[in-house]
C-alpha cells in the first residue's frame, strides 16, 4: 500500500486542530480562540413526517388484512421506528460546447422504373425517388447550456428493500415524494432542536461522490447536444453548483405472525406501504383436505362391511355384489391418489405462505 495520506482540519490562525459540527458554519478555535468561518457549508433540509406511529401501524395492519383477514389478530407488532434517510440534492449549470463532424448529405432525385398498366413494358421517367447521398463532413460547434438537478441516495436503502437512486440506477422510487430530479415540496430547514423525533441516518455516500455521480448524469444529459455528430469532443463546465442534504421520512414496522418475522416500510409522507412482506394466510387447500377426509369417512364403513359380509349395502336393496375384489382395488387406487394429492398440497403450502408489496 502507498504512503498513507493524512489531511487534518487546521485552524488558519494557529494551525491547531478544529472540530466543527455538521451544519455549522462558524466555530472558534479551541487553542487560539480565533473565529473561523466556514464557506461552502452544506444546507440540510427535512421533509417532515406527516404520519404518526399509529397511522403507520394502521397502514401495515390494513396491508396485513388485505391478504389474510386473521393475520392482524395473530400478529405481534413491535414499536414502529421512524428513520429519516438522506438524499443529496445536487443542482448545477452545465455550459460548454460539443464539437464534432456533421455528415453532409445531398438529396438527389432518381428516376424509378415503373411497370406500365399493360404489364409488358417499363416506363422509366414516370416516377422518381429521393436518395440521400453523403458527400462529405462539416465541422460544427454546438453550444450546451442547461441547468439540471439530481437526487442521489446518500444512505444504502437496499436492506430495506428500496432501490438506491444514483446515475446508474434504472429504478425510480415508486410511491415516494422524492424522485430523481426535482426537489420535493414541503422542505424545512433541519434544526436539531426542532426535529427531534426519528433517527437521522448519516450519509454513507460522501458529497464528493454524490457530485461526481450527479456530474456524470448531467454530462450524459448534455451529451444529447451532440446527437447525429460523428467524432465529437465535449467541453463542459459545471458552474453555479448548489448542494443540499434532504432527509426523507420512512417508518419501519417489524411484526411476527405465528412466530415468523416480517417487516414493512411505510412512507412518512403518504402513509403508503412502500415495501414489505406479509403472511399469505391459509389457502383453499385445507378445504380440499377436509373434503377428501369426509369422502373417506363416508367410504370406509361400507368397505369394512364389504370385507366382513361380502355385501355392499349403499346400493338400494341388498343385492349381493360379487365384485368386492374390484371395489377394493378401486379403493386402493383412490387411496394412493389421495395420498399423492396431499403430498402435492403440502409442497405447495411450504413454498407459498408470504406475499410482498
Amino acid at each position: 500500500m502507498a504512503e498513507s495520506p493524512f489531511v487534518t482540519l487546521k485552524c488558519p490562525a494557529c494551525g491547531g486542530g478544529l472540530s466543527l459540527r455538521e451544519g455549522e458554519t462558524h466555530t472558534s478555535c479551541p487553542s487560539c480562540d480565533s473565529g473561523v468561518l466556514l464557506t461552502g457549508a452544506v444546507g440540510n433540509y427535512v421533509l417532515p413526517s406527516e404520519v404518526g406511529s399509529t397511522q403507520a401501524l394502521r397502514a401495515v395492519r390494513k396491508a396485513m388484512e388485505s391478504g389474510w383477514k386473521d393475520s392482524a389478530g395473530r400478529s405481534r407488532v413491535s414499536r414502529p421506528r421512524l428513520f429519516y434517510v438522506p438524499f443529496w440534492h445536487i443542482s448545477a449549470q452545465v455550459q460548454g460546447y460539443v464539437l464534432g463532424l456533421e455528415p453532409e448529405v445531398r438529396e438527389e432525385e432518381q428516376p424509378r422504373p415503373v411497370e406500365n398498366p399493360d404489364g409488358q413494358s417499363m416506363s422509366v421517367f414516370q416516377s422518381t425517388r429521393t436518395v440521400k447521398r453523403r458527400v462529405g463532413v462539416r465541422a460544427v460547434e454546438r453550444e450546451v447550456q442547461l441547468r439540471g438537478s439530481v437526487n442521489v441516495s446518500a444512505a444504502d436503502l437496499e436492506p430495506l428493500g428500496i432501490p438506491n437512486l444514483s446515475s446508474k440506477a434504472q429504478m425510480s422510487l415508486e410511491g415516494m415524494e422524492i424522485q430523481r430530479n426535482a426537489l420535493p415540496e414541503g422542505l424545512e430547514v433541519f434544526d436539531s432542536r426542532v426535529h427531534t423525533d426519528g433517527v437521522f441516518v448519516d450519509p454513507l455516500v460522501s458529497l464528493s461522490e454524490a457530485r461526481a455521480d450527479a456530474e456524470e448524469y448531467l454530462r450524459r444529459l448534455a451529451g444529447g447536444a451532440g446527437r447525429g455528430l460523428e467524432q465529437q469532443w465535449k467541453y463542459l463546465v459545471f458552474t453555479g453548483r448548489r448542494d443540499c442534504l434532504i432527509y426523507y421520512p420512512l417508518w419501519v414496522v417489524g411484526f411476527a405472525v405465528d412466530g415468523r418475522p416480517y417487516r414493512a416500510v411505510v412512507d412518512g409522507r403518504s402513509a403508503r406501504v412502500l415495501r414489505g412482506r406479509f403472511p399469505a394466510g391459509p389457502s383453499g387447500s385445507r378445504y380440499i383436505a377436509a373434503g377428501a377426509a369426509a369422502l373417506w369417512a363416508f367410504a370406509i364403513p361400507p368397505l369394512v362391511n364389504l370385507l366382513a359380509t361380502g355385501t355392499f349395502d349403499y346400493h338400494s336393496g341388498t343385492t349381493s355384489l360379487n365384485c368386492s375384489g374390484v371395489l377394493l382395488i378401486i379403493a386402493g387406487a383412490l387411496g394412493i391418489g389421495t395420498w399423492q394429492m396431499l403430498r402435492a398440497l403440502d409442497r405447495m403450502e411450504s413454498r407459498g405462505g408470504t406475499r410482498h408489496v
Binding site: 457530485r211 377436509a290 377426509a293
Partner: protein, 231 residues
Amino acid sequence: MKISCSQCGAELTVMETEFYLRCPYCEASITVTAVEDLPFIVVPSVGEEAVRRLFPAGAIAELELRYFPYADGPAGPLPVFSQPFPELEEYRPPAGDRKVFSEDLAGPDQIIPIDEDILAERELRRSGTVLHPVWLAMLKLEGYSQGVLVDGVSGRIVGDNPLEGETAPEVPSRTFLLCLLLGLPCAALVYWLLHAAAAGGSAKALLTILAAAAGSFAALRLFGERGAPSG
C-alpha cells in the same frame, strides 16, 4: 470543509462525519483525521463461507462486510451511528480481536460513519470508538429482498431471521388426518346405527355422508383455530 485528494489533486468536500473516504475520481483512499484520533477496529473471525452456511443455498444475493462504530461505555459498548437497522438498536456486540485502525484492514466503503451528535451527547471521544465487523447479507425472499445482519465475531444473526419458520403452519396432510379422525367415528356411528335399524341403501348412504362431512368440517374448525403453532 474542503480537502484535495493526495493522489489526483481533485478538490473534495468532506463532511465532519467522514474520517476515511474514497476519492470518486481516482479511487484513492484518504484518511481525514489525525493519527491519534483513529478508532480501533475488530478483526472479523467469521468468514464469508460461514455466513453463507447460515442460510439455504442460493438465498443470499449479495454479501458485504461493514464496520459499525461502537464506543466503550461503562456498561459495555454503545452504538455511535445512525443507520436504518432497527435490529441494531438493542444489540450489544461481543468483544473481539482489536487493532488500531489502518487502511489495509478495511476500505472506506465498508465503514459506517460515526455519528458525532451521539459522541457529543455522551461526551465521548472519537479515538475511543471501536469499529465492529458485521456482515450484511441481502436475502432473496420470494421476489423481495431484505438485508439481514450477521455479527462478524460471533457469527450469529442479529435480530430475527426472516427465513425462520419457513415451513408454513398449514400442512394439508395433517389437516386430512385430523378431519378423518373425527369424521370417521361420526360416519361409522351413523352407519352402524342405520345398519342395526336395517334402513334402506340410499337413505343410509345419504345420512352417512352427512355425518362424515359434519365430523370432518367440525375438525377443520377446531384445527383452524388452534392448529397453527403460536410464536
